[in-house]
Symmetry: C2
Subunit: 232 residues, 2 copies
DNA sequence: CGTTTAACCATTCTAGATAATCCCCTTGAT
DNA sequence: ATCAAGGGGATTATCTAGAATGGTTAAACG
C-alpha cells in the first residue's frame, strides 16, 4: 500500500499530462530551447518518468518539441521562417475547407455570426469583454467552417495547425501579452465578416479569397509586431 | 548480469521499431482492425513492452493506429470516405507546393525528368523494369516539387500524408498486388509530363491545375478499382 | 597545453506491480 | 424457461521503480 496520500494516483493520464506541459509552454513557464528533464517533470506532476516520456513522445509527434536520440527533449526554438511556413500550410487548408464548406454550411449559424460581428463592430473596441467576444467569434467561425467542410480529417489537421501556430507564436513572442491589440481585433472582425458574407452568397471563390486574405493579414500583423517589438 | 545472450540489446531504437511495425502493416502481416498486443510485439522484436508502447504512441500520432484508453492500440480500419478525405488534404497541399515551387524549381532537373518521361512513354508499358522506372519518376517529381516549394514544413506534411495514404490504401486493398496496372502507370506519366511542362513554362496556375488533376485521377482510379474488385 | 580517462547525469530499457477491461458464468426475477 | 444483472477470473494496458547505456564534463596525467 504505497500511497493513500496521492489521490491523483491515476487521475493524470497521458492526455492530461500533454495538456499540462502544453499549458506550461503557453504560459511561459517553459520557454523555447528549454531542456525538458524527465525527472524534474515527473516530480512536478507527481508521476514517474515513463508517463512523462510518453507525453514527450506525443508532443514530439505534434511538432512541439524536438526529441534528440539519447539527449532528450527540448522545446522547439522556432524561427520566424518556420512560423511563416506553418501559416502557409494553414492558409492552404483553411481555404480548402472554406471552398468545401461553401453550399453546405448552416446558414442560420452564419447569419447569427454575421449579426454578432456587426454588433461587435458598432461598439468601441475596448475592454476585456470585447477581446473575449472577438476571440469567441473567431473560434466559432473557424470551427464552423472546418466542421462544415464535410471532411473530418481536414478539420482535424486544421485544429492541429491552429494549436501549433498558437504555440509557436507564443513561444516566439516570449508570451508578450501586448498582442491584445484592439486595432487588429477590429480589423479581424471586418475580415471575418467578408468571409461570412461570401459564404452566405454561396460564392466559394470569394470566400476562399477572403479566408486567404484573413490568414495572410493575421500573419503580416504578427510578423510586423515581432520585428518592431522585441526583434529576435 | 542478465543477458550476454542478447546482442541486439539496444540495437533496436524507437525509430526502427516504428518502421518495423509499419512494414508489418504495409506487407499485410497486420491487417486493419488487428489488436496490437504489446507483449506479443515485445516478444516478436525482442524488447520489453515499454519501447513497444512508445512506438505505438508514435504511430498513433501519425494516425496509423487508434489508441483506446486502457484498451491498447488497433490498426485503423479506414473507410473509403477517410481515404478520400486524406486525398483531398493531400491535393490541397501538393497544389500549394506546386504553386510555390513554380519559378524556383531547378529547370535542369525538370528537363531531365521530362526526358525520362518521354523516353518512358515511347516504350511499351510492360515489365517489372517499367514499373520500377515509373515509380522512381513519380517519387522524384513529387519530392522535387515539395523540396522546391521553399517551405520545409509543407514538404514534411506532404511526406506524412504520402505515407498515410499509402498505408491506408494498402490496408483497404488488403495488400492486393494487382495495383501494378500498366494502363494506369502510363496514364500517370502523361499527367506527370503535364505538370513538368507547366512548371517549365513557369505557369503556376496551370501547374497547380495539372497537379490537382493528377491526384484526383489517381484517387478516382483507386476508388473505381476498389469498387469493381473486392468491394468492402 | 593537449589527450585520455573517470565520474556524473540524463535518457532509455527491463522488469515487476497495479488497475482496468472483458468475458463468461452464475443467480435471481419476471 | 429465458433473460438481465452481478461477480469472479483471466487478460492486458498502464504505472512504478531501478538497472544499464550513452553522452558530457572535468580532472589528471603525459
Amino acid at each position: 500500500m504505497p500511497s493513500a496520500s496521492l489521490k491523483c494516483d491515476h487521475g493524470l493520464r497521458r492526455q492530461t499530462l500533454v495538456e499540462s506541459i502544453l499549458a506550461d509552454v503557453f504560459q511561459g513557464r517553459l520557454r523555447a530551447g528549454t531542456h525538458l528533464v524527465t525527472r524534474e517533470l515527473s516530480e512536478r506532476f507527481g508521476v514517474s518518468h515513463t508517463p512523462i516520456r510518453e507525453a514527450l513522445i506525443t508532443l514530439a509527434g505534434m511538432g512541439m518539441v524536438d526529441l534528440l536520440p539519447n539527449r532528450g527533449a527540448v522545446v522547439r526554438r522556432v524561427s520566424a521562417r518556420e512560423i511563416r511556413e506553418v501559416c502557409q500550410v494553414r492558409r492552404a487548408l483553411e481555404c480548402e475547407a472554406t471552398r468545401a464548406a461553401c453550399g453546405q454550411i448552416d446558414l442560420a449559424e452564419l447569419n447569427d455570426l454575421a449579426d454578432e460581428l456587426r454588433r461587435l463592430m458598432t461598439r468601441a473596441p475596448t475592454g476585456a469583454k470585447f477581446i473575449a467576444r472577438a476571440r469567441a467569434i473567431d473560434s466559432r467561425l473557424h470551427d464552423l467552417i472546418a466542421d462544415s467542410s464535410g471532411n473530418g480529417f481536414l478539420a482535424k489537421e486544421i485544429g492541429r495547425l491552429k494549436t501549433l501556430f498558437r504555440a509557436f507564436r507564443d513561444v516566439a513572442w516570449e508570451h508578450d501579452q501586448a498582442r491584445n491589440d484592439f486595432h487588429r481585433l477590429a480589423e479581424e472582425s471586418g475580415e471575418h465578416l467578408a468571409i461570412v458574407q461570401a459564404l452566405l452568397d454561396n460564392d466559394a471563390r470569394a470566400a476562399s479569397k477572403a479566408m486567404a486574405r484573413h490568414i495572410r493579414s493575421g500573419y503580416k500583423y504578427w510578423s510586423r509586431a515581432m520585428n518592431n517589438g522585441k526583434a529576435q
